[in-house]
Structures are given as C-alpha cells and as structure tokens.
C-alpha cells in the first residue's frame, strides 16, 4: 500500500488523519483541505503529503472554495520566526494578510525541496522563490477575474484576498476565483512588487505563533498524543562507543505499567550506539522502569577519555604544521623578520545545544513498512532521509509531521532521536512517544567541536600588520559524525571565515591541524565561527593593543582601508555605541565583528569592573548587516537570543569528560545564563533593501564573546584566552 492510499483510508492503528494533525499544530478551525489546488489533482498530493516529484509554484498555496487560504511553510519554526516570516514572503505577493491565511508545515515532501531550517538560510534562501510563488498565484487569480468580467488585466488589482475591477467597483474573492484560476497556466516570470509597496515584509508584523505560545496551545513534538499511545524511556550508555553486554530487567518489569523492553541502536551520523528502551503506559512508568534497569556495558576502552588530557593533546598539536587553508605572500619570512612579533593560543571548549525541549519523537507504524512520525525537528526532509537510510524503508513510505520545536540551535538538524522512536515503535503494536531526559540531552551529544587557535602576527614598529597566521587545531564534525576517513576536506569547515574577513592582512597563512576524537561533534548555532571568531577577533585586539592603537580605529584605519560591508558595519557600530564618548573609571568597551557563511554582525560591549574582580556587563550594542529585512523585530529577537547563547558559552558552560563520560548532566552543573545576568542588547539593522540578503539566526553569535573579552581587557588589562571564564572572578 502506498502512502497516498494509506492516508485516504484511515489506518487501523493510530487513526490520525490530516484533520487531526492540523488541530494538533494549533490550526484548529481548518477542515480537511479538500479545496482546489492550482493544478488539477495536485491537491491530494499536498494534502496527503505524498510524493509528486516536481517542485511547482502552486504547491505552496491552497485556496478552497470557502475562501480559506492555506500557505505551506517548508521551514520548521524552532523559535527563529519562520512560522511568520516564511509565509509572509508568499502572502506579501499574493496580496493577503497574515490574518487571512492558515499556515501548514510541510512534511518533507519532495515538491518542496530542502525543508531544513539551518545555516541562517530560511529567509535569504527563499526570498526570491517564495515571493515569486505568491506573485504568480496573484496573477492567476487576477487573470481569472478578468476572464469572468471580460475586462483588461490593467483595470484590475488584488488586495486582501479579493480581486477588484477599478472602473466598476466589482469584486470577487479568491475563494470565488480559485477553481478558474487553478485551470490557468502558471506564469513563469510574474512581476514582483516594488518593495516600497510592501505591507508585510520589512514591518514588525506580529507573529501568529505568539498567542499559541503564551496560552499553552502551541503543540511541540513532546505534546503529541495519539490514541493508545505508549511511552518510551531509553537507557543509553554515557560512555560513547560502548557495547551492551546484557541487561537485568526483573526490577524494571516489576514497575507497574511497564510493558516491554526493546533493544535497538541509536543511529547518529555514521555511529550506531547500543541502547535499550523501556515501554510503558505512562512516561513516568517508563522512566521508573529505566531507572530500575541494570545494564552491563562493555566500554571497549572508551572509558579513559579525559578532556584535560585531550586539551593537552591539542596544545601539543598547535606546534605542528597543518593543512594550509590559505596562503598569501610569504608568512614565514615576513613573520621572522617583523620587528614586533605576537603569538597567542586560544582555547574554546565543547558545548551542548541544550534546547529547552528535550529530544523526543512519536512514531506509529501503519503496517510493516509505512511509518508516520511526529517530531520537533529542524528539517522534515532530513528526518525522512535519516529514517529511510537507517531502517531501510523507502523514503516515500514515511510521513513526517513537523511540530513547533522547543529550541534547535543545530541540535535538531540531527534526527537520531526520530530514528530511535521509529526503531522502538517498530517492535511495539501501538504508537510510541519516546522522551529523553535532560541528562541524556546534556550527555549524549552531538556537541560543538572544541577548537584551539594558535595565532601569530608580525607588526612593523608603528604597528602595521606584516604577517598573520590563524592555525586551528581541532577534531572535525565530519570525521566524527560521518566517520570520514579522509579528513583533508574537513579543513575548510573547521576554519570557517578565518581567511575571508575583510581585514587587509599581508602574508597571511592559515592552517588546520586535525585531531582525532571519538565523541560525536556537530554544528552548533554559527558552527565553527562560534569558536574561531573568538580567537580571531581577540587577537586582532591584541595586535591593536601592541600597536598602541584604539581597537576600533585600528581596524578601521589600518586593517580596512578599502570600502567593505565590514567597514560600513564598524562605522555604524562606532556611531551607535558612542564609541568616542569617555567611560567612567573602571569601565571598558570592546568591539568585534565576524563575517561568515551566514552573514555579518558586530558588537560593542561595555563593561565595568567591580573591586571584587567581577565584571558587570553594562550595555551591548549590535549591528547586523542584512541588505533586506523581512521582520525587523524578529531580527532583534534573534540577535538578543544569540547574544544570550554566546554569553552562556562564554561564562557558563563547557562539556568535559572524565572516564569517557560527560561530566555535565543537567542545568545544575551545565548552567545557562539567567535573567539577572542578561544585559540590554540594542540592535541596529543595516538594510537598505535591494537584492543583497544575508542571514539572521547565526551572525549575532560569533562576535559577542570576543567583544566581551576585549571590553574586559579594556577595563582591567586582563586578556581572556580560554572559555568559559568566571565573570565574577576575572
């Protein structure tokens, strides 16, 4: 039975049809989408979330005869605002308000292509495409109206979901036109609106998910409930790569409500980790059953791994020649002959994503090889791919329901927990909701890679740069997650942005030294830039200090003589932060910027030092360079959030290991910044419109910590080269 048929004919188990799904996502009021799609026969494919192949314009918009307008959102919302900003791009050109539309999350269907929120790509990657989708549909609706009225197109316009005939004042709603419009060919080059006429894009439009999220009505993956559903809690080994020898389940089976145990493997990238799931009729019983389970693990030699030892290895490797990722001029000669030489080693740790919603997933097998998944994930397409690859079922036999994510930050790009739930539910004759504990979420990775940076600079007597080197020493994401044996390709992702800053640095030679590790590592918000930017921008500050120059003016006057986005950004920062205004005694301000794949942002941080050697952050100024902005308030929120996350990574948390086991377990020993520690962040957006459009979610992260550390240097003369540091005792 193909999936399409399966959906039309309610499954014997679960019985969760589209209507139920839509209610679950908080879109109550929307019936089954039985209306007319833009291409005959297409609506079923959309509704049933089954595989038509081509991406076509109409797949994003459904208007039923009652006038209900549904817009498909291919970008999962994990708090970054895509539930509003992505449909907004369609709605703007379609000439409907956001209040008029229903938003439906896509489920990894092929016609929507990439459906992953990551890489700060949801807006910049969809801006032209989705506007075109909306504009094309609007033109078809107008054309349908002109055919009915027999009037020229030039006499008609659309607004608020209605087509108007200017001379006569006649009007027809989109619902009334949907059938006829659906029969028209899709215009391939519709005319896009002049941005000056935008009603939604560029405005602080309220987000439709906010009312749901303050009333308990937003449905996250963990909130899914299916009839007859069972719960699973999983015993994983906190020592990676251990083998499960045996387990003693007598005490587990004595827990009331426990049904059975399922032995399976957690599949994370190329890794397979042994695990045992306890299935019960309540989560609490499943969890109690797991606590009572005695598992015998064979650590297989992995219980000796220790972060302190590993860090020493990285320090030793910093003296080694690595893969040259960038070489310009003759670094060695220029450095050795430079009158002033500067070297420093920066050490950045592993960290965990720790979204507030622990990993979870609900899975239901409709028969032998048809699977339905409900999950908080950053990418429905990736959920399908990972399950299909690991469980050996066709991709099209998997239906994915994406719900709101309680945070992602890169963690939910990796859908090991969805594969887990699918693996467990395969052995259970009921839908199963699997929920990880916070301890598992903290301990099991994948983690942000640790990176050490060996920095070298040669300066002239008057402080001009003569030679520069940033050498990154680290394990790599690909080598651990995908088990790549050839690590030569890892050098570019692990040296993100270090060779492409706008700074004019002659004789620059950047390198990458690979270090083996068995801990699973992965992208964390702003990926490698979240660590290498700290070394890069603090070291630029060290150069300015050595040159006896103001660090912002050094960047502007010495390193950025030519025009660039970076120079413009720093000039804006200088202006908005009142950089030249004197500060009280004991205060200091620091600046940093970073440009990388996701975009460009920069901070000025002001701190004061207390007499107990503590540091108080007084004020934070941020400038983000976007080109075009869809929702400025959401951009500000994302920057405020990135600053908070960066502050936590700078002053709170590192993931460390003893005896092969993650030392940190929960928020008591893996603390996050709390409300009293978070200063005001003043966000300025550079957005003059035009075709240039940059990312939002990540550029607010990398430059925060270096700006903070540079401010602390300005206030105290103390240089911070290792994170995290204790802000109360610098």
């Amino acid at each position: 039975m193909r999936l399409k048929e399966m959906i039309k004919q309610p499954a014997s188990r679960g019985d969760l049809d589209r209507r139920r799904f839509l209610q679950l996502t908080g879109l109550s009021g929307l019936g089954l989408v039985l209306g007319l799609g833009w291409k005959p026969g297409d609506e079923e494919a959309i509704v049933a979330a089954a595989g038509t192949t081509a991406v076509n314009l109409s797949a994003y918009i459904i208007i039923d005869s009652s006038g209900t307008i549904s817009i498909m959102n291919p970008q999962p919302d994990m708090g970054q605002g895509t539930f509003q900003s992505v449909p907004a791009m369609i709605a703007e050109e379609l000439e409907v308000t956001l209040e008029q539309i229903r938003i439906i999350q896509t489920g990894g269907e092929k016609q929507y292509g990439r459906q992953t929120s990551g890489g700060s790509n949801s807006i910049r990657g969809n801006y032209q495409k989705l506007r075109t989708v909306g504009a094309a549909a609007k033109e078809m609706l107008i054309l349908a109206a002109t055919q009915r009225w027999k009037v020229p197109v030039s006499e008609c316009y659309a607004s608020g979901g209605v087509v108007y005939h200017k001379p006569s004042g006649k009007s027809l709603s989109y619902g009334e036109l949907a059938v006829e419009a659906g029969r028209l060919p899709v215009p391939q080059q519709p005319v896009l609106k002049d941005p000056r006429d935008f009603k939604i894009i560029g405005k602080n439009y309220p987000r439709p998910d906010v009312p749901l999220k303050i009333s308990g009505k937003a449905v996250y993956g963990i909130d899914v409930e299916l009839p007859g559903m069972l719960y699973a809690s999983v015993a994983h080994c906190p020592v990676f790569n251990s083998k499960l020898v045996s387990y003693e389940d007598a005490d587990t089976m004595r827990v009331k409500g426990v049904k059975k145990l399922v032995r399976f493997q957690r599949a994370l990238g190329a890794h397979k980790y042994d695990a045992v799931a306890v299935i019960a009729d309540t989560y609490w019983a499943a969890y109690q059953g797991k606590l009572a389970l005695k598992v015998k693990w064979d650590y297989d030699g992995n219980d000796v791994f220790d972060t302190d030892v590993y860090e020493q290895t990285l320090r030793e490797l910093s003296g080694k020649e690595g893969t040259v990722v960038h070489s310009d001029g003759n670094f060695e000669a220029a450095f050795s002959s430079a009158p002033v030489q500067l070297t420093a080693l920066y050490e950045l740790p592993m960290v965990s994503h720790s979204p507030m919603e622990p990993q979870n997933c609900t899975a239901l097998w409709h028969g032998k090889d048809l699977l339905e998944i409900w999950v908080s994930s950053q990418g429905a397409d990736r959920v399908k791919d990972e399950i299909a690859r690991n469980l050996g079922i066709p991709r099209d036999n998997i239906k994915v329901n994406i719900l709101f994510s309680g945070g992602g930050f890169g963690r939910r790009l990796y859908n090991d927990y969805a594969v887990e739930a699918a693996s467990i539910a395969r052995e259970v004759d009921a839908p199963v909701k699997m929920i990880w504990t916070r301890e598992e979420d903290t301990q099991l990775g994948p983690f942000r890679p640790p990176t050490f940076s060996a920095m070298k600079a040669g300066l002239s007597a008057d402080g001009k740069p003569l030679a520069f080197q940033h050498k990154v020493i680290s394990p790599s994401m690909g080598s651990t997650l995908e088990d790549k044996k050839d690590t030569s390709g890892e050098s570019s992702s692990m040296t993100e942005g270090i060779s492409t800053q706008a700074y004019e640095l002659p004789n620059m030679k950047n390198e990458y030294v690979f270090s083996q590790i068995h801990i699973p590592l992965a992208a964390w918000r702003s990926v490698t830039s979240s660590t290498v930017a700290f070394a890069h921008e603090c070291f630029i500050d060290e150069m300015a200090a050595k040159a006896g120059r103001d660090p912002l003016q050094y960047r502007l006057d010495v390193l950025l003589t030519k025009d660039s986005d970076t120079k413009r950004l720093l000039l804006k920062l200088k202006e908005v932060s009142y950089w030249d205004r004197p500060l009280p005694a004991g205060w200091g301000r620091g600046v940093a910027q970073y440009e990388f794949f996701a975009g460009l942002g920069g901070y000025v941080v002001e701190v004061s030092s207390t007499n107990q050697s503590g540091i108080h952050i007084e004020k934070v100024y941020m400038v983000i360079d976007l080109g075009t902005v869809v929702n400025p308030d959401m951009v500000a929120l994302q920057v405020e959030g990135a600053a908070t996350m960066a502050l936590t990574a700078a002053i709170k948390s590192a993931i460390t290991f003893t005896n092969g086991q993650t030392r940190q377990t929960n928020f008591h020993n893996y603390p996050l910044v709390r409300i009293n520690e978070m200063p005001e962040v003043e966000v300025h957006i550079i957005a003059e419109g035009g075709p240039k459009i940059k990312g939002v979610g990540e550029p607010g992260l990398p430059p925060f910590a270096p700006a903070l550390a540079n401010a602390i240097f300005a206030a105290t003369g103390k240089r911070i080269r290792k994170l995290p540091f204790n802000i109360n005792k610098v």
Partner: protein, 154 residues
Amino acid sequence: MASITLTVNKKKYTIEADPQMPLLWAIRDIVGLKGTKFGCGMAQCGACTVHLDGEAVRSCVTLVGRAEGQEIVTIEGISDDNSHPLQKAWIEFQVPQCGYCQSGQIMSAAVLLRENPHPTDRDIDEAMMGNLCRCGTYTRIRKAIHRAAEIMNA
C-alpha cells in the same frame, strides 16, 4: 496506583495514578493539558511551573499526591482568551522565540505581580531567576512584566 482527585483550572479530575508520579506528568499525560512543559526534571529550569494554591510550584518534583485538595492552575487556566495582563504584555513585546519556557515564565511572573504590583528590575530578577530561557528572551520578559504591571494597575 491510587485514585486521586485533582482540581485543575477549576475543573475536577479523578485520575488513577502512581502517587509517586510527579504532578507534571499527571497534568500532561493523564489530565491531558500540555501547556506545562518538561525541561529538566529537577526544578532547575522552571518550564513545568504551575500554581498550587497560588504558589509557583515546580510540578516536575511535586508528587501528584501533594496537589490533592489544592487548587492547581496551569497556563491554560490563567485566561481563556489571552486577556491576562501578562499575556497581553507578552504579545505586545512579542516575547517568545521557541516558546517552550514561556508557560513557566508567565506562571512565575503572575505570582510576582500578585505579591508586588510595582516590581523593580531587581524584584523581577528575584522572581524570575528560576526560569531558564535558552533562546534568550530575558530582556523582553523584563519589559513585558513592567508592561503587565502597568496594565494591571491602570
């Protein structure tokens, strides 16, 4: 297993549950109200905050038995239509990002405003430091609480 009567949002529920089960799971999985969230299971994060006789109790460490005979209010019970001053202010400042912690944030803020209708920034810290937000909505939560106080006192 025991038969336990809970009063949640003024409605009575008689449930069969292990008396050792935390109130959180009874509310979510048995009563069926999902607005109260699981974050840490050890009273570190505040995502599970509900009102128990008016106090902002962490339901993940509160046994369901303790709640018997007391008034439980969850996020679903503070208003039917987002008309609570905190909800109004939360909308005005567009506070949530992922939103997962916000039920707990609002339940904590409600106790603060009941006991202190004119909170200072420090009062807000002292009330809200038990509620973690990974997305970083803290500065907006602060503004929204001040705004909610204005709405309440108007």
